[in-house]
């Protein structure tokens, strides 16, 4: 099924919970109300016409005025895919976890929490995955300022290039 028809099917079913259908090229996407993401997700997985059985990618993007969580779904049996998005406020970004629908969401949501600070409600094991547990802030946010040291280890390094000055003896 083409992306546009998939999105129309979701629109027919969920109506006002679909905030926007974008025919943006090359990958069109659909924006869902964050409050109903779990409902939409389980419909997309269980509906026999859609059968989107694989959450292939989940990523977070900081747009300075909002944070978006992007879900790339895929169906092995129907060979079609869909892109879902939720837009969250930058202060206190919270959305329900999709871990109970697609197991692969567990680790990918941990990564988004770790790097962008999105809280996934109902997640079974929401803790940092890539950064150290006591790391300050969320590195992939656009306003993140890297600390100059971490436990006494400097994060700044002088350039290893030695410039030879012929005048200097």
């Amino acid at each position: 099924m083409e992306a546009a028809r998939i999105y129309q099917r979701i629109k027919d079913r969920f109506g006002e919970h679909v905030l926007e259908i974008s025919d943006h090229q090359p990958d069109p996407f659909i924006v869902i109300d964050p409050a109903s993401i779990e409902e939409v997700g389980s419909f997309m997985r269980s509906d026999p016409e859609l059968a989107l059985d694989c959450l292939s990618n989940e990523s977070g993007v900081d747009y300075k005025d909002r944070i978006e969580v992007v879900y790339h779904l895929f169906s092995y049996s129907k060979r079609h895919g869909a892109v879902l998005k939720v837009k969250l406020p930058r202060e206190n970004p919270t959305v329900a976890t999709l871990e109970n629908i697609w197991k692969s969401a567990n680790w990918m949501e941990r990564e988004i929490f770790d790097l962008l600070g999105v809280i996934f409600e109902g997640h079974s094991d929401l803790r940092r995955i890539l950064m150290p547990e006591d790391w300050p802030g969320f590195p992939l946010r656009k306003d993140f300022v890297e600390p100059t040291e971490y436990h006494g280890i400097s994060t700044v390094r002088e350039s290893p290039i030695i410039r030879l000055d012929p005048k200097k003896k």
């Binding site: 694989c54 990523s59 790339h72 692969s104 680790w107």
Partner: protein, 372 residues
């Protein structure tokens, strides 16, 4: 007798452990020899590659992609190239696509050889590893001639590849394939059909097809569970639709479907398929330029896209967002190893400690690819 009791043991495996394929750590809760659970702890190799992308621009990010997965860096090169090309709608010249296919398939051979070699070593068979590495070195020699590097290639560019095949390289590559194919049978006779080896691998870490899809396993791990799915075949990119090759899947020949032996055999059989593709590619390669005209100041229009590449560790997804400037707004790589690590905690329940090593090796996880 009532004073006797048993106690659960917590063990630390890694981060420096010879069989964890890089810097990986597992917190193992064990009851004697049997694990209750192995909790993976990753992040030791996190180099914030996605953050670097936002700072260095499109062309400048290419050498960094090598470091995403240094065992098969050609695929990460290609992934980033394809994502940028899709954003800016650039067509790669035919010869450039063939060069890419040849380079990546040689890289797949090298990566799978390392995987099947360390698989034997991890469970105690040292000799096959030396055989596999010997062949891999010869492939590295070929790739070195192609791009000047043996590990972090930086061979591809946005719009094609950096250099054409050197003079005489094609004949050398074909001669190598003639040498390699009989070696593969020798390797199988040496280890793959060894009874002890099969006993160690069969019925370990069984993943059902539903589970594999649910946990988003990709590549040989997915095919090991019996799902015939290969991005090269099913969503063809580059010039793969012009090649004739099979997609090997696990059949449960030695144990239950989706066990470690199935995943291992899928890799062994894929080596043969890659040789098939390489022969066709080297024979059919057309003349022409290898690199499209791409401005040095590369600014794709604002937008976003996702592309999928069948790397040696399976479907690698690149999600790139452009804001119209010379620097990507956001790049996200979803790698095969990251997905495979997510299933280990579940599979480890009730497994013997010695089999954890088999499980990790059979999933072919590469630590830098998990952590990026």
């Amino acid at each position: 007798m009532s004073t006797l009791r048993t106690e659960e043991m917590t063990l630390n495996m890694g981060p420096q452990h010879p069989s964890t394929h890089g810097v990986l750590r597992f917190i193992v809760r064990a009851d004697g020899e049997v694990m209750r659970e192995a909790i993976p702890d990753v992040g030791y190799l996190h180099r914030s590659i996605e953050k670097i992308a936002e700072k260095v621009g499109y062309h400048g990010f290419m050498p960094y992609t090598d470091r995403v997965d240094y065992v098969c860096a050609m695929f990460t090169n290609q992934g980033w190239g394809m994502a940028s090309e899709k954003l800016a709608n650039i067509q790669v010249p035919k010869r450039g696509e063939y060069c890419r296919a040849i380079a990546t398939e040689f890289n797949r051979l090298a990566s799978h050889l390392l995987s099947v070699g360390t698989m034997g070593m991890d469970i105690g068979a040292m000799t096959p590893f030396t055989h596999a590495i010997r062949e891999r070195e010869m492939i590295n020699d070929l790739i070195e001639e192609l791009c000047g590097a043996r590990l972090t290639f930086n061979y591809m560019r946005i719009g094609g590849v950096a250099w054409d095949l050197p003079p005489g390289w094609r004949e050398k590559a074909l001669a190598y394939l003639d040498h390699f194919e009989p070696i593969l049978d020798e390797y199988n006779a040496l280890i793959s059909y060894n009874k002890i080896y099969i006993e160690r691998l069969a019925n370990v870490g069984i993943i059902s097809a539903d589970e594999a899809v649910n946990y988003n396993l990709v590549g040989p791990n997915l095919r090991g569970s019996g799902i015939k799915w290969d991005i090269r075949k099913d969503l063809p990119y580059s010039v793969y639709s012009e090649f004739d090759f099979d997609v090997p899947v696990g059949k449960g020949e030695w144990g239950k479907l989706g066990d470690a032996m199935d995943r291992y055999m899928v890799r062994i059989r894929e080596l043969k398929e890659s040789v098939k593709i390489l022969r066709q590619a080297l024979k059919q390669i057309p003349a022409g330029p290898v690199l499209a005209k791409v401005p040095r100041n590369f600014k794709p229009p604002a937008g976003e896209c996702q592309i999928r590449v069948e790397s040696a560790r399976g479907d690698m997804g690149w999600y790139a967002v452009s804001d119209g400037t010379g620097y990507p707004w956001r790049v996200h790589v979803r790698t095969g190893s990251f997905a495979a690590m997510g299933i280990i905690q579940k599979l480890s329940q009730g497994l013997m400690i010695a089999d954890l090593v088999t499980l990790i090796a059979s999933l072919d996880v590469i630590a830098p690819e998990i952590d990026r």
